[in-house]
């Protein structure tokens, strides 16, 4: 991630203010920063979203493609995640510099979305045993301002909400079944994303458990727990990150706080997306 050099005094300041239940920007331990979400802003994709969480900036584009089914799972569609760490975010990402971070984030997303209830996988199957939709979910990291995993997962969920999959008509002739993908932009079906998880990262700073850490706070935290939380409050993936270790009691506390925040976040996001859908707003895009 980007280099933030904090002096010992600055670290102590953050740690001490945490003890008085204050964070450097005045938030409580379970508060998120201001977030902006916009969907459908890239016309060449089947679904797109941009999330700006304080200064973290994520752009997601989803493209769909018809592919032969996986012989292991003949009745479901597939998704694939790709993440590109743009060198615009930090020069450290130049060349192959961002690869490690990219594979970490995609691995976490893949794990979080691998449970069957995350999205309606059977609906992505066009012709059981033969053809299904493959969703290419491409994430672009434009700016890092802390809490990348959460922001990426929110952006992915929003882009999937925005996804418009063209309808396919099948006609049977002597040669077999012919597939015809509709090119009418208004002839599409949507994907149910109610079950899709959001990743919530809980950082341990001092003795406190903090969500949505800023870059400075991330430097102060030695260990963090990442959880994919669904709307129902179930955990679809979990991992610990950082060089420190945690004791069992604080892990269970962290899980609880992640669950609380995750359920609320899922609810808010879906509400916002629904309202955005209802009103005709002009895309803002990158001009603010």
């Amino acid at each position: 991630m980007t280099d933030v050099d904090l002096s010992e005094a600055e670290k102590t300041f953050i740690l001490h203010s945490m003890q008085d239940n204050f964070r450097e920007d005045g938030r409580g331990c379970e508060d998120f920063r201001h977030m902006e979400v916009e969907t459908g802003l890239i016309s060449n994709t089947n679904g797109s979203a941009r999330v700006r969480l304080a200064s973290t900036d994520i752009l997601v584009g989803v493209k769909v493609q018809l592919v032969p089914v996986d012989p292991n799972k003949p009745n479901v569609g597939r998704i694939e995640f790709f993440l590109d760490c743009s060198a615009n975010a930090t020069p450290a990402f130049e060349g192959r510099g961002g690869e490690g971070l990219a594979s970490e984030i995609t691995a976490m997303l893949t794990r979080a979305y691998s449970c069957p209830s995350a999205i309606d996988y059977p609906s992505l199957c066009v012709l059981p045993g033969q053809q299904c939709w493959l969703l290419y979910i491409d994430v672009l990291l434009l700016e890092c301002g802390g809490n990348l995993f959460d922001a990426v997962s929110i952006a992915v969920k929003s882009a999937l909400f925005n996804l418009r999959i063209p309808n396919v008509t099948m006609t049977k002739d002597e040669g077999g079944i012919e597939l015809d993908v509709s090119d009418d932009p208004f002839d599409f079906k949507r994907l149910d994303v109610a079950g899709a998880p959001i990743i919530v990262t809980v950082n341990k700073i001092g003795h406190f458990h903090v969500v949505d850490a800023s870059e400075k706070e991330e430097v102060c935290s030695l260990a963090r727990l990442m959880l994919g939380i669904t709307e129902k409050g179930t955990v679809t993936a979990m991992k610990k990150e950082g060089s420190g270790s945690l004791d069992t009691d604080s892990i269970s506390e962290m899980i609880e706080s992640a669950k609380k925040v995750g359920v609320e976040l899922n609810k808010c996001l879906l509400n916002i997306l629904m309202t955005e859908e209802g009103q005709e707003v002009k895309p803002v895009g990158f001009l603010r």
Partner: protein, 273 residues
């Protein structure tokens, strides 16, 4: 590429025959309350541990958990090769690899995404245990190879790597132990085999809320969890309960690891004298 006309060229894409035999959903425990391999739900598999199996490595370890077999070598501490990687804290690198023949389906020689993910998880588990500040400007390399995978490969790898690190004489705060569980509905089974792991993750009906697996790495003497990861959809309460169960199982393995280490030291002493 020029084609050889005397050969019959095969299809460009080929699939393993296993791809086409759909595994029927299995019951984790049968009517006699026993698992497929005859174990009770809370019963661990027998474990064999030995240090010093690779003579040219600084330290090494071998673990056998029934049919899961993992070998690990530790090299270093040695000089950091690239100047830009210089740091006052030592660096730990982990390389996790399944051999191509270790699983039911053949794996590729190149490290795939799952192996990369497991390498990172292994590193997360071991890093808190190693006194890295004692090794400035140097790196320690850990290479883990799974020879045969019959479930709980990550936890076996963590135990094996911590034994290898200790036998290499790397200064550590504590040995690292690891344990896995698999869950389905109200049932929790410890130390799952590959079939059981697959069975909980490949659930077909959506109704089940609780189905997944979990691995915990634990440092017993400082009572800290160094890594925790889960897959599948699990309720929070089950997660907490399973974590405590994993920690309990780790503690059961602690004497085994200590004994393997002591045996290694005694063997070495006998060799030199």
């Amino acid at each position: 590429m020029p084609t050889d006309t005397r050969r019959i060229s095969g299809p460009e894409i080929s699939h393993s025959p296993y791809d086409y035999c759909l595994t029927p959903p299995i019951d984790l425990i049968g009517a006699d309350k026993k698992r497929l391999d005859g174990r009770l739900p809370a019963q661990l598999r027998p474990l064999f541990l030995r240090a010093g199996v690779i003579s040219q490595a600084r330290g090494s370890g071998y673990i056998e958990v029934d049919q899961t077999k993992v070998i690990c070598a530790v090299y270093g501490p040695r000089e950091v090769l690239r100047r830009e990687d210089f740091s006052l804290k030592g660096q730990l690198t982990c390389d996790f690899k399944f051999t191509t023949f270790s699983c039911r389906l053949r794996r590729q020689h190149q490290q795939d995404n799952q192996e990369k993910d497991l390498s990172v998880q292994l590193l997360e588990a071991l890093e808190p245990a190693v006194c890295l500040q004692k090794y400035p400007k140097s790196q320690i390399n850990i290479y883990v190879t799974v020879l045969q995978n019959d479930g709980s490969a990550l936890s076996a790898a963590i135990i094996c790597a911590s034994l290898a690190l200790a036998s290499a004489g790397i200064e550590m705060y504590d040995l690292v132990l690891a344990s896995s569980v698999a869950m389905r509905d109200a049932l929790t089974i410890v130390d799952p085999t590959e079939r059981e792991e697959e069975a909980v993750l490949n659930k077909t009906h959506k109704a089940e809320l609780n189905a997944g697996s979990m691995t915990v790495a634990f440092l017993p003497s400082i009572n800290q969890v160094s890594a925790i990861s889960s897959d599948g959809e699990i309720l929070c309460e089950t997660l907490t309960k399973s974590m405590r169960l994993c920690v309990e199982n780790c503690l059961k393995l602690y004497p085994v690891l200590q004994q393997a280490l002591v045996k290694h030291r005694l063997d070495k002493q006998a060799d030199t004298s």
